[in-house]
């Protein structure tokens, strides 16, 4: 556990030293979300209707940006070889990298989401459900993303392959994430959708650990 935290700690320190990259994902998220009103017109009811979906799609795209480098950087400089000889099993390495990806990309997006909600004029009492669904959903997306990043490591054109692999996995998260916010806006219970998001997160954990670890071992060959 201590070794696991040491790896996350190193990644957080690296991310903080290169914090320009962190703002990049958040700015991308805000920009994509701000594009829709320009393209579709500023009609308040329309914006309210598409708002929850736009937040989710923008968050998904912003998360994809930093995924490719998650393991590729470790492989390029030789760190991956050394990590694979550490007491941490490859499964734990994948989970640690997914955790640091979420902390450095997912969490800032969740914190920036109220700005988007404001642009789309979502009612204030919906912010809680929106943020909670994003917290759960982005964590699953980081896990699926880390799986994809590990599996694409050896591949040429991994950068193109990665979204093709991760986006289909992200569809259920997208469905239940937007459904939670939509349900709340329609005055229905958001709880079932949030529970399903939690279930997806629990499902993503073993998938990421085992498929991701296989990807890392394959990449070291």
């Amino acid at each position: 556990m201590k070794s696991w935290l040491a790896l996350i700690g190193r990644d957080l320190r690296l991310a903080w030293r290169q914090r320009g990259d962190l703002f990049m994902a958040v700015s991308f998220f805000l920009l994509v979300a701000a594009l829709f009103p320009f393209a579709l017109g500023p009609e308040p009811n329309l914006l309210l209707r598409i708002g929850p979906g736009v937040v989710w799609v923008a968050a998904l795209l912003a998360l994809l940006l930093s995924l490719e480098r998650l393991f590729a950087l470790e492989q390029e400089d030789g760190s991956l070889d050394l990590l694979l000889l550490s007491p941490l099993p490859a499964e734990a390495i994948v989970l640690a990298k997914a955790a640091s990806h979420w902390l450095t990309t997912g969490l800032p997006l969740v914190l920036a989401a109220p700005i988007v909600a404001l642009i789309y004029n979502l009612p204030f009492d919906g912010y809680g459900v929106l943020l909670l669904s994003l917290l759960l959903g982005t964590a699953s997306l980081s896990l699926f993303g880390a799986t994809g990043a590990a599996l694409c490591l050896g591949a040429r054109r991994g950068g193109v392959l990665l979204p093709l692999l991760v986006l289909p996995l992200a569809v259920p998260v997208l469905i239940f994430g937007t459904a939670a916010v939509d349900a709340m806006l329609a005055g229905l219970a958001a709880r079932p959708h949030l529970l399903l998001l939690s279930a997806l997160l629990l499902l993503a954990l073993p998938i990421a650990a085992f498929a991701g670890a296989a990807g890392l071992r394959q990449a070291a060959e």
Partner: protein, 233 residues
Amino acid sequence: MGTPNDMATGDESLPARQLEARELGCLRGGWPIFAGVTFALSAGEALVLVGTNGSGKSSLLRLLAGYLPVAAGELLWRGVPLSKDPDLHRSRTRYLGHLDAIKAALTPREDLSFWAQLHAQSDRRVEAALAAFSLQELADRPGRMLSAGQRRRLALARLTVSPAPLWLLDEPTVGLDTASQKALVAAIARHRAAGGMLIMATHQALPGVTDAAQRLDMNRYRPLPPDPEALLL
């Protein structure tokens, strides 16, 4: 891999031999790299791999580290096949490849401290490792400011941060000046005196190491050329 277990258990009567390779063969991407590699190492012994470029020195080191699967033959640790417990083998192996695994934004002290924590070692070893490779003055400089030789020294210092019985070094002397080579020789001597084993690929004689080691000429283990007709199919 795939060898009968009764062979392995019969060898436990030879505790002196820590690491033993029998008729090892290696495939990469379906191509044979070497075949029939056989050697045995006892505690404190060193093995130097020599051979022309492409003779499989690096592949053998990666195979011994567990990155590559054993395609033929067997690899035993005190008579037990390594494939039986890959996790255990990881914990007793340190590997230094062609890449130095240095992060541009981390200082040498932070770098060593991270690897020490990862291997559950105390920070005291970090200072000792910095001193062993004369890195104290560079200890708080970001990794991007280090020269090629300094990066190499940091990568070597990392070996000493967490003890392990088997060191696998792939051309460790590349980019090192004479003073740093001496530091490496001293580190290897300490490692071997503590019962550690060393397998090193090199093109360069390293006084104090290469002259007191077994030699394995990888040119002798070229695999049979693939059947040209089989390739056409």
